[in-house]
């Protein structure tokens, strides 16, 4: 099918995600921006289910269920569909010169990322060793075959054996749509996460603060060198940027739920956190933390969500996150993983590593050619606004941010691998997961600092 097939796959992804986001009243751009990452989650999960139930990877078989589900929902739930379209409230005001400059930077970064990513084949080591190799193998094998994981050379040899399969199956979908293997073209799927990231981030901020602050922070996020590396330079094809998008959607909609009691936002947050667990193992810790915090809010603060709805949310989470965890459980155990030494005894004996870990990490975070002023700004504004931690929504964002950071440090404390080398090869990828959340914190605090923090209220049908 060639390029047209790739467009068809992109349409399928957007359609699959849109089936969910169309029921959430928001701007059309926001609905579409969220539809892309959520759609990738749904379609790759579908491919995984097909593999488990031995349904062949044929494009019509992949497309058909989505059109049936879409048609069914449109007919049955037509009244709940939101056609908010383009909200012109912020468009009627003329853009200032400063805002035009920021818009130029954002669209320049997007254009650069999209063009530069598909101009050359895959480059990053993990890209072809982990994600694209599996993607190619599943395409050539016609599914996720159990035997594949038993061949040490392909899956165990690089310790990526137990990584979730969203990214590889996204590559597989690309190859299926093209009808052949072309890693250069399929890279576009990963750069599109960057486009989603920026639009979602901008509209989250725009719902709580001024257009100028939203544009400024979006432009700053768009130009973080480590983000750009995976968006359009030599790290396109890594799964860290996709994971950061799922974290952002989960945190952003969770914030809306906590601040506005927006139940549909809660549903989107939970779906996104669940897909994060299907993207990388790091997503699992975030999912658990988010479920605990949101459950606490549901039962002790909100109290309008019944036990039946709560269990419905849990079922959705398990439906998305559990299949791979169960499948992984049936695979032979790895001899050495990052947490294979997980025990209280190891933790206590290795706790002395913490000062060394911080000593290695902190200088990296404050390196200009990696993060420009990002972490400096985050630390400064967090310290200045400590009293803001009394606000439930803000506390939710910061708690998830700090919990996830603590998990990464915990892994470094336990790792059986050479510590300095382990940190050097992973920390710049791990921070990508947290960057958009960090900027969301900055956005909330900055808006509060300048007296422009607004309460976002859109009545959902």
């Amino acid at each position: 099918m060639g390029i047209m097939g790739l467009f068809a796959a992109l349409f399928l992804i957007l359609f699959a995600g849109f089936i969910v986001t169309i029921f959430y009243k928001d701007r059309l751009v926001m609905q579409l921006a969220c539809a892309y990452p959520l759609g990738v989650g749904f379609v790759t999960l579908q491919l995984f289910f097909y593999s488990v139930f031995s349904i062949p990877f044929k494009l019509p078989l992949i497309f058909l269920p989505w059109f049936l589900v879409g048609l069914f929902l449109i007919l049955i739930k037509f009244k709940q569909i939101s056609f908010a379209g383009f909200n012109t409230k912020n468009m009627v005001e003329r853009y200032t010169l400063f805002e035009k400059m920021l818009l130029f930077i954002i669209f320049f970064q997007i254009s650069f990322a999209l063009i530069n990513s598909i101009i050359l084949p895959i480059k990053g080591f993990d890209t072809w060793v982990i994600w694209f190799l599996k993607g190619k193998a599943f395409y050539m094998d016609g599914g996720v075959k159990y035997d594949f994981f038993l061949k040490e050379l392909y899956s165990n040899g690089n310790a990526s054996y137990q990584y979730p399969l969203l990214a590889p199956l996204l590559v597989t979908l690309g190859y299926l749509a093209l009808g052949y293997v072309d890693d250069q073209l399929v890279k576009i799927f990963f750069s599109l996460y960057y486009v989603s990231l920026l639009f979602i981030f901008y509209y989250f901020l725009l719902s709580i603060t001024s257009r100028e602050i939203s544009l400024l922070l979006t432009a700053m996020l768009a130009t973080v060198p480590r983000v750009m590396q995976q968006a359009g330079i030599d790290g396109v094809g890594y799964a860290d940027l996709p994971l950061s998008v799922y974290f952002l959607i989960g945190v952003g909609f969770g914030y809306r739920y906590i601040v506005n009691a927006d139940k549909k936002a809660l549903l989107l947050a939970v779906i996104s956190f669940s897909i994060a667990a299907w993207t990388k193992n790091e997503g699992l810790t975030m999912l658990v933390a988010a479920i605990i915090i949101l459950s606490f809010h549901i039962f002790y603060k909100d109290k309008t969500i019944g036990i039946k709805t709560f269990f419905g949310i849990l079922v959705i989470t398990l439906f998305i996150a559990l299949p791979w965890q169960l499948y992984k459980y049936t695979l032979p155990e790895l001899s050495a993983t990052m947490v294979s030494d997980l025990s209280f005894k190891t933790f206590i004996s290795n706790i002395g590593r913490v000062p060394f870990i911080l000593q290695v990490i902190l200088p990296k975070l404050f390196t200009a050619n990696k993060y420009h002023i990002t972490w400096g700004l985050y630390v400064l504004i967090t310290i200045v606004s400590l009293r803001k931690l009394r606000s439930a929504g803000y506390l939710y964002i910061q708690t998830l941010m700090w919990f996830q950071s603590a998990c990464y440090i915990f892994v470094y404390v336990l790792t059986p691998f050479e510590l300095k080398g382990h940190i050097a090869t992973s920390i710049d990828r791990l921070t990508i997961h947290l960057l958009p959340i960090g900027y969301l914190c900055v956005g909330v605090l900055w808006a509060d600092f300048t007296g422009r923090l607004q309460r976002y209220i859109v009545k959902q049908k």
Binding site: N116, L133, N158, H372, I373
Partner: protein, 154 residues
């Protein structure tokens, strides 16, 4: 100027100043783009992966998908790239050739070695070539591919 405006100007100035390295990198990439448009997919692969891509491609075209290949390497990157390009062929990797025994050749259809810039490689290839067990199919830039005549292996 209120405190909000001052804060904003300060942040923007610092951000732009510290992000200059990224902008420089992007401008360099943009200037290099026209050169990439004229390259064939194969030339692009060689540009990114190096000569190992050519070797892997030749190995791929000379061997059926069901074949087993003994792959001798000394650099992990070469092995990993070859694994990617050669899937679903069954690769049996061997680090270096010093400890290679006839046992390693059991159930093997092809022998491939990619050892560029290894001075001993030529000796190894010369030693291997006259043997009737191996039919040389390819030799270039430190890469060599043999068909293994399994019936001659004792």
């Amino acid at each position: 100027m209120n405190k909000g405006q001052f804060f904003k100007i300060l942040i923007v100035a610092l951000w732009i100043a510290l992000d200059l390295s990224l902008f420089r990198k992007e401008i360099r990439a943009i200037l290099a783009m026209p050169g990439y448009f004229n390259l064939t997919p194969e030339e692009k692969k060689i540009k990114v992966d190096g000569q190992v891509y050519l070797f892997a491609e030749n190995l791929r075209s000379l061997t059926p998908e069901s074949s087993s290949i003994l792959f001798i390497y000394k650099k992990d990157g070469f092995l990993r790239k070859s694994i990617y390009y050669l899937y679903p062929r069954k690769l049996k990797p061997v680090y270096g050739y010093d400890k290679l025994t006839s046992q390693d050749l059991l159930n093997i259809d092809y022998l491939a070695a990619y050892l560029p810039s290894d001075p001993d490689a030529a000796y190894f290839f010369e030693r291997m070539s006259p043997e009737p067990v191996f039919d040389k199919l390819y030799e270039k830039d430190g890469g060599v591919i043999y068909k293994v005549n399994r019936e001659l292996i004792r």
